[in-house]
Symmetry: C2
Subunit: 680 residues, 2 copies
C-alpha cells in the first residue's frame, strides 16, 4: 500500500535506499537566509528520505568526510578534491546554477549564488529519491531561463479567477489573510522546482486589489515577501494602469503626462519601502476592459516605459502582457481576426521598450486553448525582452476535474521551430544569448493551486505544477521524463508509479481528442470554460468563431483569408498556408475546410471528427479502468478522490463526444461510417 501525503506533493517522506553513502555531517558557512534554508532543506530532506538528520558544522574541516554546502565562490575552504574553481570554469554556471559532486566520503553541492545552492540541494534530494545518484556522481546545471514566474489570479475576496483548487492562499474577505506556515510550504514547493518569481494578485486589478499598493495592504504584502524571499523568490505585484486616476484622483493616467508619471514614481518609492526586493509590476493593460495607454492615444511602449522608469532606480522590471485584442468584436465582421492581434500590436514596437520592460506573450494567439499554433511573435521579436506565458491552471483543459497532463503539449511548444534563422525553436530561443538580440528570457504561468488540502484539486494535477517548474528551468526536458520523475517522486520507485506515469501520458491526447477538433478552438461553455457548447462563442463579442455551415468549418487564415499566416516566418507561413503541409492537429485553425476534405489517413474531415471523439471517450474510459487497477496499491483516500474525478471526466468526455458528433451530424446529415451511435 502506497501512502501519499498529498500535501507534500513531490517532496514525500519516503524511506529509500540511497545509492551512495551520505555522511552524517554537513559543513556549511553561516550564509544568507537562502543559504541557510538550503542547509535546512538538506538536513530535512535526508531525514525524510534516509531517516537521519545530519548535524551541521559551521567550521569547514578540509579533508574530512562530510557534505559540503556553499557557494562556488566560497568553496575555497572546502577540501582540495572538490576543485571548486575548476568546476565553475567547466560548468560555466550562470545565475542560479549549481554543481553537485559525490565521491566516496564526500558530497559537494555548490551554488553560483544562494538560490543556486538551494536548487542544487533540492535537485540532489530528487536525484537521490529517484535512485539516480550512485557512488561517483557529477552534475552541473544552470537554468536555461532566468525568469521562472508563477502568476496568481487571486482576488482579494478570496476567490481565484480560473482557480479549481479552493480559495486563495493569500486573501480572504477583501484583504490579506494567510497562514504563514502554508505560505512557507508553498514557497518551498516552488523553490524545489526552481521558481524564482511570483506575482501575487490577479492581473485584473479590481475592487480592493486596487488598494494593494497603498500602505494599508503593503505591510501585509511585505510579510508575504519576507516568507518567499527565504526561498529565493521575489514578488511581483499586478497593478492597474489607471491607478493615477482611480487611486490617485489625478485627472488622467496618461503615460506622457508628467503628473501621472510622478504619481507612479512616488508610489513606487512607497512600495519599495515595504518590499525592497520587489521584482516589479505585472500589467494587463488595454485588455478585456482593463485601462491602458490606448485610452490616451499612447502606445504600449509609452505605457510600459513610463512605469519602467519609475521602477528602474529600484532594480525593478515591468512585465507587460501582450494579451491585447478587440474584445467587443462583431461576429458579422470577418475582417477582424483576433489571432492577429498580439503580433499586430507589438511587432511594430519592437525596440521601442525600455531595457527593464519584459513582454509576456501567451504561447498561442488565442487563449490557452487545448491546441493552438505558437504565437508568431516568438522568433520575430528581436529587440524587446520577453517571456512566454503558459497556463498551469486548467481553465480550458478540464478544471482539474479532467486529467490533462500539460507538459505533453508544452513539449510540442518548446520544440516548435519558429524558423527565424538558425536554432530558432522555442527551446533554442530560450537558450540563445546573442549580443543585441533578445531571446526568450523565461516563462510565466498562471498557477493551479489553492487552499485545497492537496493544493491542486486533482492530486495528479500536481504533475502540471511540477512539470512547469522543470520545463521553465530547462525547456529541453521532455514530458515523458517529467512524468517519470514526478510519478516516482510522488509514489515511489515502483510499478504503481509507472502505471500512473502512463495514465498521465495518455491524458492529454485523450482530452484533445474529445475537445474542439483539429485546432478549431472555442467550442467550450462560455464563461465557465468547462464542457462543450459548440456555438457558445459563435455569435459573441470575443472574436473566436468557427463559422460552421452545412458544408464547411473553420477560418481561412491564409493570405486569401485573414492573412494571419503571413505573420510567421516565410517558411512557416508557407507551411501553415497549405493544408497539405499544415499540421493536421491545427488544420482548422488555419483553414476553412469542407467536411469531405480528405485527411492524411484517407478519411474525411467529418469522419475524423467522429473518430477522434469516439476515441477520446474510449481513452477516458480506459484511463478510468487503469486507475481502478490501482485500487489495492493505493490508500483509499487518494484512490477515491482521483477515482471520483475520473468518473466526472467520463461524464464530461461523453458530453463532448455526443454533442460534437450530434452537432456535425445535424449539420451535415451524414452519420458515422462505422455505424456507431450518434444521436440525432
Amino acid at each position: 500500500m502506497i501512502m501519499l501525503k498529498e500535501y507534500d506533493c513531490w517532496l514525500q517522506k519516503r524511506k529509500i535506499t540511497a545509492g551512495i553513502n551520505v555522511p552524517d555531517t554537513v559543513f556549511a558557512h553561516k550564509g544568507g537566509e537562502v543559504s541557510d534554508r538550503a542547509v535546512k532543506e538538506f538536513v530535512c530532506g535526508i531525514d525524510r528520505l534516509l531517516g537521519f538528520k545530519p548535524k551541521v558544522s559551521r567550521k569547514i574541516a578540509a579533508g574530512k568526510s562530510g557534505v559540503f554546502l556553499g557557494l562556488v565562490s566560497g568553496m575555497k575552504d572546502a577540501p582540495e578534491c572538490c576543485g571548486a574553481k575548476n568546476w565553475d570554469a567547466k560548468c560555466s554556471l550562470s545565475e542560479n546554477g549549481f554543481f553537485i559532486k559525490a565521491a566516496e566520503k564526500q558530497i559537494f553541492i555548490a551554488g553560483k549564488d544562494e538560490p543556486g545552492l538551494l536548487y542544487g540541494v533540492f535537485r540532489f534530494l530528487s536525484l537521490l529519491a529517484l535512485g539516480l545518484i550512485k557512488n561517483v556522481f557529477e552534475l552541473c546545471d544552470s537554468p536555461v531561463s532566468a525568469l521562472r514566474m508563477i502568476n496568481h489570479w487571486d482576488n482579494f475576496d478570496g476567490a481565484v479567477e480560473r482557480g479549481y483548487a479552493g480559495n486563495s492562499l493569500f486573501y480572504k474577505n477583501g484583504g490579506f489573510d494567510f497562514d504563514r506556515q502554508r505560505i512557507e510550504d508553498y514557497a518551498r514547493l516552488l523553490a524545489s522546482i526552481g521558481i524564482n518569481r511570483v506575482s501575487i494578485n490577479n492581473v485584473n486589478v479590481r475592487a480592493n486589489a486596487k488598494l494593494l499598493i497603498t500602505e494599508k495592504y503593503l505591510k501585509d504584502a511585505g510579510k508575504l515577501a519576507d516568507i518567499f524571499r527565504r526561498f529565493g523568490i521575489r514578488l511581483l505585484i499586478s497593478v492597474n494602469f489607471g491607478a493615477p486616476w482611480s487611486l490617485g484622483k489625478l485627472p488622467t493616467a496618461d503615460p506622457l503626462d508628467e503628473k501621472a508619471a510622478d504619481w507612479w514614481k512616488n508610489r513606487v518609492a512607497l512600495i519599495y519601502k515595504y518590499i525592497p526586493d520587489l521584482a516589479g509590476f505585472l500589467v494587463k493593460a488595454d485588455s478585456e476592459g482593463e485601462p491602458g495607454p490606448f485610452q490616451y492615444n499612447r502606445t504600449h511602449a509609452d505605457g510600459a516605459n513610463m512605469l519602467a522608469k519609475a521602477v528602474k532606480p529600484f532594480g525593478g522590471i515591468i512585465v507587460w502582457r501582450c494579451f491585447v485584442y478587440n474584445c467587443v468584436q462583431d461576429w458579422r465582421d470577418k475582417n477582424v481576426d483576433r489571432a492577429r492581434a498580439a503580433y499586430d500590436h507589438f511587432i511594430q514596437q519592437d525596440g521601442a521598450f525600455d531595457d527593464n520592460v519584459i513582454l509576456q506573450i501567451k504561447h498561442g494567439p488565442y487563449d490557452f486553448q487545448v491546441r493552438e499554433p505558437v504565437s508568431p511573435l516568438f522568433g520575430a521579436l528581436k529587440k524587446t525582452r520577453h517571456v512566454m506565458e503558459l497556463q498551469i491552471t486548467q481553465e480550458y483543459t478540464g478544471h482539474q476535474i479532467d486529467l490533462c497532463y500539460l507538459p505533453w503539449v508544452w513539449e510540442d511548444i518548446m520544440r516548435y521551430d519558429s524558423a527565424h534563422g538558425e536554432k530558432s525553436s522555442i527551446m533554442e530561443l530560450t537558450a540563445k544569448r546573442e549580443e543585441g538580440l533578445c531571446g526568450i528570457e523565461g516563462f510565466s504561468a498562471v498557477v493551479n493551486v489553492g487552499l485545497d488540502g492537496n493544493w491542486t484539486g486533482h492530486t495528479l494535477a500536481q504533475a502540471n505544477l511540477y512539470g512547469y517548474g522543470r520545463m521553465a528551468w530547462n525547456p529541453a526536458v521532455t514530458a515523458k521524463e517529467i512524468a517519470r520523475e514526478w510519478s516516482a517522486l510522488s509514489f515511489g520507485l515502483n510499478e504503481t508509479a509507472r502505471k500512473i506515469e502512463n495514465i498521465l501520458l495518455k491524458s492529454y491526447p485523450a482530452y484533445e481528442k474529445y475537445n474542439a477538433p483539429f485546432g478549431v478552438c472555442f467550442m467550450v461553455t462560455p464563461n465557465t470554460h468547462y464542457g462543450p457548447n459548440i456555438e457558445g462563442y459563435e455569435f459573441s463579442r470575443w472574436g473566436t468563431y468557427h463559422r460552421a455551415s452545412a458544408d464547411a468549418i473553420g477560418i481561412d487564415r491564409t493570405p486569401s483569408g485573414t492573412g494571419y499566416t503571413s505573420q510567421y516566418s516565410p517558411k512557416n507561413a508557407a507551411l501553415f498556408a497549405d493544408p497539405s503541409t499544415c499540421p493536421e492537429n491545427l488544420i482548422l485553425f488555419f483553414h476553412r475546410l469542407r467536411y469531405d476534405y480528405k485527411m492524411k489517413n484517407g478519411q474525411t474531415l467529418l469522419q475524423n471528427i467522429y473518430d477522434t471523439h469516439f476515441e477520446g471517450y474510449d481513452d477516458v474510459a480506459a484511463m478510468l479502468e487503469d486507475w481502478k487497477s490501482l485500487e489495492n496499491s493505493l490508500e483509499s483516500e487518494v484512490y477515491n478522490s482521483v477515482l471520483s474525478r475520473f468518473e466526472r471526466q467520463l461524464v464530461n468526455a461523453r458530453e463532448w463526444r455526443d454533442q460534437i458528433n450530434t452537432y456535425f451530424r445535424r449539420k451535415t446529415g451524414i452519420g458515422d461510417n462505422r455505424g456507431r451511435v450518434i444521436y440525432d
Copy 2:
C-alpha cells in the same frame, strides 16, 4: 409638455375637466380601515384630478347634494334615489364588487364589502380621469376572479430573481428592510387595480428566507401585513417544503409523518399569531431542486393536503405550484417531453386535493415563453381548485429593456378555447360557477417591480402591471382597451398618449417576430434569458430542445411523436396535431417541420423565419422613430430614459435577427429570397 411623475404610475396628479359636477362633501360612516382608506383615496383623488379636497361628513344627510361612500349593506341611510337595495339585486354583486351611480347632485359609490368600496373609488377616479363619467352614469362591477395575486420572487439579500427594476422593496442584507411609505404607495397601486393577494418572498425559499417563518422575521412580516391590510390585500408566504427537516431538525419532512405534520401545525399557529389574516402559503415543491413530497414517495396531494390541514383552522389556503418537471433531462432522450410534465403529474390527482388547496398552473407547458400553447390542464381539471400563473416581470420578454406589452398575449390566452364542453375558453372558465366543478378562480403573476424610481425599470412596463390587474379582475377586457386606459391615465387625454398606446400595441408582435420563431421556444441565452443563443439550451438538462438539423426543426408532439397533443380535449388535440389546422404561431411547438414546409402565406417555413426576423427588427426601428417623434411632447427625463431603452432594444433585435437568420442560413445553405443581408 407632458409632465409625468413616473413614481405615481397611473395615479397621476393631472388637472382634468370633469364630465360631471363632483359635490364638495363626502358622506361616509366611520368604517373599518379599508373603508376609511377608500374615503381617503376619494378625497385625495379628487384633489389630484380636480384640485379641491371634499370635506368628509360622518353624518349621512339624506337628500342632500354629496358623495355617498359606503357598503351596499350600509346604504340604507343614503338618499332614496340611490335605490341601494335594488342596485344590489340588479348587479348581483359578488365579493369585492361595487356599484357607482352619478346623478346631477349626488354620487354614490358602494362596495359589496370594504375592499369593494375601495375598488369602486379607484374605478370612479379612473373613469373620471378618462372622461368617461358624464352627467348620469351607472356602473356595477364585480371581479370575475376571486384571487388576484401578485408573486414576489424577492430574496432576503435584496436581489429579486428575474427582477429588472432594482432591488427588493422588502428585503436587504439578509432580512426585512423596507420603507413604510414606499410599501404603502405600492399597496395603493396594487389596490387601485384590484390586486388582493401578495406573496412576499421567492418561491425558491433559500438561505435566510427559510427563517421567515421564525419569530425573528415574523414580527417584520407582520408589519408588512399591517400596511397591505389597509388596502384590502392579504399576504402569502412562500415556504420550503423541507422545513420540518431543515428548520425543525426533524429526521424527515415526509407529509405522512405525524411529527412533520405536527411541526407544521405548531409553526402555522406561530405564524398566525403575527399575521392573523395571512392568506396562506405558496409552495414550489419538487421543482428545480426544491424539496417536495416525491422525496418521500408521496404524491403532491399528500404534500399539499398536509399543509392545507395545518392552515385550515385559520382560514388559510395552500397555493401549490404545478411547475413540476424533470430538470435533469438527458438531451439524447427523446421519450421525455417536458411539455407533458404538469398535466402528467397533476391530472391523475384531480379531486385528491383538500378544498383549501389551490393549484397554481403556469399558462403554458414550458415557462413563460414569448409564445406557448395554453396548458392542457385548463378545462381538464374539474375537481381541484386552481389559478393561472402569468409573468409580469419580463424574464423571457426583454428584461424591461425591450418594450413588450404583455396584455397583448394575455388576451390570446384569455380567449383560448380549451374545448372542454360549452363556454370553456379561459375567460369563460374563470367566470364559471358550477356546483361541484372548479373553474379558474383567478390569477397569479410574478411582478415586475423593484426599488427603481419608476417601479418597473422601463417606464412603459408599468402598463404590464396595470394590465395584469385589469385582466385578473376581468379577463374579457382587451389589450387595446387596457393600452388606451393606461396611456391616458399616465399621459393624459391627448395625442401623445394615443401615440404611446400605439407603440405599446406594436411592441408584442415586434418582440415575437424577432424572437424564437413560431412557438419553437428557448433560443435564448441560458441563465440570463436575455438575447439570443440559438443552441443555448440544445444540449442542456432543462428539457427544452428544438433539435434543428440541416433539414428540419421542432419537436413532433403529435401522437406519432411525444403525444403531448393528446393531453388536450379531442377537438384541440386534433387541431394541434394537424399542421394545416395548428395555429402557425405555435406550429413549431407542436410539429417538426422541414424548412421547405409551405406556410399559409405560400412561403416556406425558412423564408417565413427570415421575413419575421427582418420585420421584427424593422418594427423596433419604427417604434424608436415613433418614440423620437414625441421628444417635444415629453419632459426630457422620461423621454430620454425610455429612448435609451429603445436604443438598447434595437441592438438586441439586431442580434436576434442576425443570429437567427445566420443560424438558419448556415444550416440550410439557403439565403433570403428577397436578397436581404444575411451574414454567413
